[in-house]
Homo-oligomer: 114 residues x 2
DNA sequence: GCGTTATATGCATGTATGCTCATATAAACA
DNA sequence: TGTTTATATGAGCATACATGCATATAACGC
């Protein structure tokens, strides 16, 4: 009988580069702010500019990056373009990282509290 | 009665920068190769150099980065230094990203197969 | 057609960071 | 003490990328 324990899959160097690229897309604060703003649902570029406080140029560039990484979908309607999160795993990724950071900080807080 | 649906927590710009930093640490192929090599358990620097094919200098630098990010622990024993994964959420993060990439590629494969 | 609004992009610049070479530290041992 | 082995680090270089300015494209109304 084969063990049911979940094993890490073997990963090629190519696969590793793809995964790294995906993490890189998530490694910019402005892109995270955009994703966070989109958690509630699709928004136009102008709305995102207002919500994040970025310049129009910069917001547009980052939206392009996120779309090329297949994390967002783009829908044009008249003059406006609406973006929305297309990859639900984004939510889980952020939750995981948040949880891990919270643990780390609460441990550090414990040390200071002694 | 309060809804039980899991809501995304509100995130400050500072929190966002911390999360981004964490993703940035995971966004280098060599660091992912090191983490992957450590999935099976702790290893010395020399072993990691052999397993990843990197130079000693470079491997040492990346191990330092991962350790400062609290993803690895460092244990010195005689001349050797052993590193091990200290944050179990790393496994889940990689699984999530791998799964999401697999879905993306199988969709693309479908398109080509038509 | 012309002007206006929403979004995208070419170019230039600054900053961050990965990589390598040489050298430094640190521990073991003769 | 001097030598060897394992790991870390300082300096310099190259590259990637985020940002802003100006301008281009695209859709709408007149």
């Amino acid at each position: 009988m084969i063990s049911r324990k979940k094993l890490p899959r073997p990963l090629s160097a190519d696969a590793m580069a793809l995964i790294a690229r995906r993490f890189a897309v998530l490694s910019e604060p402005m892109r995270l702010r955009l994703l966070h703003a989109l958690f509630a649902g699709e928004k136009s570029v102008n709305e995102l500019v207002a919500l994040t406080g970025g310049t129009q140029t910069n917001v547009s560039r980052h939206l392009q990056t996120l779309t090329h990484a297949h994390m967002l979908t783009r829908r044009k309607e008249g003059l406006q373009v609406f973006y929305a999160i297309s990859d639900p795993s984004i939510f889980q990724l952020c939750e995981l990282v948040c949880g891990s950071l919270e643990k780390q900080f609460s441990r550090q807080a414990d040390v200071f509290a002694r």
